[in-house]
Amino acid sequence: MSQDAQLRIISALVENKPGVLYRISNLVRRKSFNIESIAVGHAETPGLARMTFTMFSDYSRFDQVMKNIDNLIDVRSVEPLEERNATIRELALVKFSPGAPVTRQEVMSFIETFRANIVDMSPETLTVEISGDSDKINAFIDLARNFGLKEVARTGTVALAREMIIKRGT
């Protein structure tokens, strides 16, 4: 991979109808595109969904992915995004099952440090939600392994273009 390899994001507006997700995943597979994550949800317009793809890639490969996704009949539009020009978030649900030597209290203060919220509790477990960029969530999960991490569910990255970008040179 060449020097300009970096995290790149495609935000696509697609028809929200049966088969669309299949067409896209089929394309990704048959072209051997290395996609890190795909997130899908309803968009602002009824009948449309927004899909966010992230990939670690050089520009040339990324350009191919974008053109091929845009070529799909059910895709309305595609927009390339990068970390510097987009708001990027991912949400994860993380279930802990604290036990000796880790105390429940230690887990709570770990969670507090990352500003994660507790969303479910049982006598044996507690589940938290955390959002942020992928690096933050990766760091949280890595550390959580020391605090009785049990299960993880991640949404994949979603992103929207920033309206005002502070241009730093060219």
Binding site: N26, S60, Q64, N71, I73
Partner: protein, 569 residues
């Protein structure tokens, strides 16, 4: 109106005159609706007839539709039942997909309430076809049927032509409902290609005017866009030599003083060596596949490449160095560039380059003259060119005979040469020849075949005889899977693994058993007599030409080698 009747009505409204197919359990309602039209089977086509041609295998039905599409410039339509019928279609659809041919396939499906239960002859044809089509439809209501067909034809023929599949559950074919036939369909993010960007046209024109040693590389896209005349006008105006990819073979008359023939794995050695010498390479309608360019890093490394293609995803896909690119219809792009350069051409001196290029042409042409001594593979093809008229259509199968055609068969007129270049499908040529003959009953049609390839779809002989579609098959019979054997000779130390076909079958008797004519020839004179007889014959003729199993296709660019590193002999 029933869903099945809506299928037929919608096809008629698209101007479809012929469909190639095979009935089965899940498309019987459509065949019932077709019944009324089959009385016209043996009469000349007219507006009210929809001729159905019964293939003996669905793969052949798809190839016939493909051959029909390539010969006519119209959509080729094929039909199959669910399950095995549909899976058999896939090779044909993939062939059309790789060569950008507008084929519409209509498959029957198990009733919608059975889908997902692994019912008898149920298979996920939409899932399977997604990889080899531009789009797929599965109408679940009668009223969606006309829309699906309208949209399928629209998608298949606009931008980059590609196959489209419509999978219709049997209950939808049977149900009755009010239907509406639309005049047009609209997709929010898909439409005909926009006109060429004037700014890019200016940039390209400037680069061409500044070129000292320009070469035009024409691909299959020129043929699909029907831009034959524009390409010739442009090349003549610019006095620029034209090479083609294998898919582009015939995009430019190969007997033209500026034609350099084909480049690539089995292209002309001199042409291949000339490519890195040019300073501007104008690529029109080619994906620059590995078979055309050789090792891409060694292909035109110091050349300014201009890439015109109907599909934006082709720009930067194979050739990754920066290019000046124009995403446009080849015909419109060439027209726009001609208009732009018309005024700037005066006083341009490229005599030395044109002379250099024409030396290549003249030497290559002399090699094509042939000496008529004995029937080798290449000699048979060179002689065939002499014996048949320029407007005769030639299709090929895949293998040595195909590459001998690339090297030895001059294609002179538009839409007269069709081959499976992208997928390389053995068995394509014969059914495609039948489809071409249906589209062009006025010209003789030939399938140049190998013995291995012909056996893949020889049962189409039954179709050709019963449906009265006479073509001529010329089998270069080396009793080998010749191209595989050649690679084993070159790259696997002559370890001939599973390439001996032996003496079976006797192709003359095989043809006769179908009611076709069969003849074996061993001299040039016998070949000429057989070809002339075949062109006049009311039934298909199979001409068996025994050749040596040791013949190679040379020159050859070994896989992974640079464009200048050809093996000559």
């Amino acid at each position: 109106m029933s869903g099945a009747e809506a299928v037929v009505e919608a096809l008629l409204r698209e101007g479809v005159e012929v469909v190639f197919g095979h009935p089965g359990g899940a498309n019987m309602p459509i065949y019932d609706a077709l019944y009324d039209f089959q009385n016209f089977r043996y009469t000349p086509l007219n507006e009210t007839s929809l001729r159905h041609i019964l293939a003996r295998h669905e793969q052949s039905a798809a190839h016939m539709a493909d051959g029909y599409a390539r010969a006519s410039g119209k959509v080729g339509v094929c039909m199959a039942t669910s399950g095995p019928g549909a899976t058999n279609l896939m090779t044909g659809l993939a062939t059309a997909y790789m060569d950008s041919s507008p084929v519409v396939a209509i498959t029957g499906q198990v009733p919608s309430f059975v889908i997902g239960t692994d019912g008898f002859q149920e298979i996920d044809v939409v899932g399977m076809a997604t990889s080899v089509t531009k789009y797929t439809f599965q109408p679940l209501r009668v009223r969606d049927v006309p829309y699906s067909i309208k949209a399928a034809f629209y998608l298949a023929t606009t931008r980059r032509p590609q196959p489209v599949l419509i999978d219709i559950p049997k209950d939808v074919q049977q149900a009755e409902d009010e239907v509406e036939f639309l005049e047009s369909v609209n997709f929010p993010n898909y439409g005909p290609l926009p006109d060429p960007d004037p700014m890019v046209v200016k940039t390209i024109s400037r680069a061409i005017l500044d070129a000292q040693r320009p070469v035009i590389l024409a691909g299959g896209g020129v043929k699909m866009a029907n831009a034959y005349r524009e390409l010739q006008a442009f090349a003549e105006f610019l006095v620029a030599p034209v090479v083609t990819s294998f898919m582009g073979k015939g995009a430019f008359p190969e007997n033209h003083p500026l034609s350099l023939g084909c480049m690539g794995m089995h292209g002309s050695e001199r042409t291949n060596k000339l490519i890195p010498e040019c300073d501007v390479l104008l690529v029109v309608g080619s994906r620059l596949s590995d078979r055309t360019t050789g090792k891409i890093e060694k292909f035109a490394p110091n050349t300014k490449v201009i890439h015109i293609d109907a599909d934006k995803a082709e720009i930067g896909k194979n050739y990754k160095l920066p290019v000046v690119s124009l995403v446009a219809d080849a015909k419109k792009a060439l027209q726009a560039i001609i208009r732009e350069v018309e005024t700037g051409m005066m006083g341009r001196q490229r005599d030395a380059w044109v002379k250099r290029a024409q030396e290549v042409v003249v030497t290559a042409r002399t090699e094509l003259d042939g000496n008529g001594s004995h029937l080798s593979g290449p000699e048979t093809i060179r002689m065939l060119r002499r014996f048949i008229p320029h407007d005769a259509i030639v299709t090929t199968e895949v293998g040595q005979h195909q590459m001998w055609c690339e090297q030895n068969f001059q294609v002179i007129m538009p839409r007269t040469f069709f081959s499976s270049g992208g997928l390389g499908t053995m068995g394509f040529g014969f059914p495609a020849a039948l489809g071409a003959k249906v589209a062009r009953p006025d010209v003789p049609v030939f399938d140049v075949a190998g013995d291995g390839s012909f056996l893949m779809t020889e049962n189409s002989l039954a179709t050709s005889v019963e449906e009265q579609i006479p073509v001529t098959v010329v089998i270069l019979n080396n009793r080998m899977l010749g191209m595989v054997a050649q690679w084993q000779r070159f790259f696997y130390n002559r370890r001939y693994s599973a390439v001996h076909l032996g003496k079976s079958p006797d192709f003359v008797k095989l043809a006769e058993s179908y009611g076709a004519e069969g003849v074996r020839v061993s001299t040039i004179l016998e070949l000429e007599t057989a070809v002339n007889r075949a062109m006049r014959s009311p039934v298909t003729t199979v001409i068996d030409v025994p050749i040596s199993p040791e013949e190679n296709v040379l020159p050859m660019l070994p896989p992974g080698a640079g464009i200048k590193e050809m093996v000559v002999g």
